[in-house]
């Protein structure tokens, strides 16, 4: 893979990350944003790199996966940057509701440990704008979820793109 091969997933991953970060816009696309970005990435790859059709499934999966990974990197970076600037985020804002809900279970020590960790994260964010636990957690979950959805988008994209060959 040369640098040109990385361009479509990079651009589409960035676009998906922007859309998932903008409040309100996410509600329109929901779980389809990353798969749609992966499909677009396949299409752009075909246009820019003149990839021969029909698309090979392996290549489509790799492009989808890369789109998901780039989306995860950018989305996590945006989240961390915004958290650093505003010293707040969704996690901090919804922590009281989460705590109320979890306290309902009366779990004793287990609950205290869990809530203690979460409160520490919230306190770090409010004071310094950064929490290592939060950063690691957000990168980890973004990577897994977006990689899966990107790969699925790549697989689905083959159906759309290869249809052009049959035409």
């Amino acid at each position: 893979m040369n640098n040109k091969n990385f361009l479509p997933p990079l651009v589409c991953g960035f676009g998906a990350a922007v859309i998932t970060t903008v409040p309100g816009v996410k509600s329109l696309g929901c779980c389809l944003i990353v798969p749609l970005a992966a499909i677009l990435s396949l299409y752009l790859d075909h246009k820019i790199n003149k990839t021969e059709l029909p698309f090979r499934a392996k290549n489509a999966m790799i492009l989808g996966l890369l789109t998901g990974i780039f989306a995860a990197v950018f989305a996590s970076s945006f989240d961390i940057l915004m958290t650093y600037i505003f010293h707040s985020n969704d996690f901090v804002q919804t922590l009281p509701q989460t705590e109320a809900l979890v306290r309902h279970y009366k779990l004793g020590l287990l609950l205290n440990q869990t809530m203690g960790m979460m409160k520490q994260m919230s306190s770090d964010i409010q004071q310094t704008g950064f929490s290592l636990f939060y950063t690691v957690g957000i990168f980890f979950s973004n990577f897994i979820v977006n990689a899966i959805f990107g790969t699925l988008g790549g697989l689905l994209g083959i159906t759309f793109i290869n249809k052009r060959v049959q035409k």
Partner: protein, 157 residues
């Protein structure tokens, strides 16, 4: 392993993964009061938040607890799970026209546009229904592609 067995094994694996995914977003509703549900709630909420807006007004309440994904996403995942289960017993050969994929996404697009521009009020049932239809159809395409990669190609080589 013969192709038929390999196909069934693959479909069983996909069904298992989808079941785990669906259990994840409905864990708190299915096992209210369990300590595991309480402890895993913040983690699962954040993980599913990556793929869904989780707006409370657009989310189903089951047993007094909100699911971790919206009504449309619930429909998509349950549609995929249902077809995944059915694929274990039926649909031995998967071949679909791409037109059906366009048809399946049309109701979602219409619903999103109409409810966003207040042509009609957002309905969880409609969102769930459009998601269910889309999820069922799209899963068949994805399954067909996966089978094509892991089974058909290897045996044709």
């Amino acid at each position: 392993m013969v192709p038929e067995n390999k196909r069934n094994f693959l479909r069983l694996g996909i069904f298992f993964l989808l079941t785990v995914w669906c259990f994840g977003f409905s864990f708190e509703s299915l096992f209210p009061g369990s300590s595991l549900a309480a402890v895993s709630y913040p983690i699962l909420k954040h993980a599913y938040g990556e793929v869904c807006h989780q707006i409370p007004a657009k989310t189903f309440l089951i047993g007094g607890k909100k699911l971790l994904v919206c009504a449309r996403c619930t429909g998509i995942y349950l549609g995929a799970l249902t077809i995944s289960l059915l694929s274990l017993f039926f649909f031995k050969k998967l071949k679909l026209e791409v037109k059906l994929l366009y048809v399946s996404i049309t109701p979602i697009l219409i619903d999103v546009i109409f409810s966003s521009f207040n042509i009609y009020k957002y309905s969880k049932i409609i969102a769930f229904g459009t998601g269910l239809f889309f999820g069922s159809i799209v899963f068949v395409y994805i399954l067909a592609t996966i089978e094509n990669i892991f089974i058909e190609k290897k045996f044709s080589e």
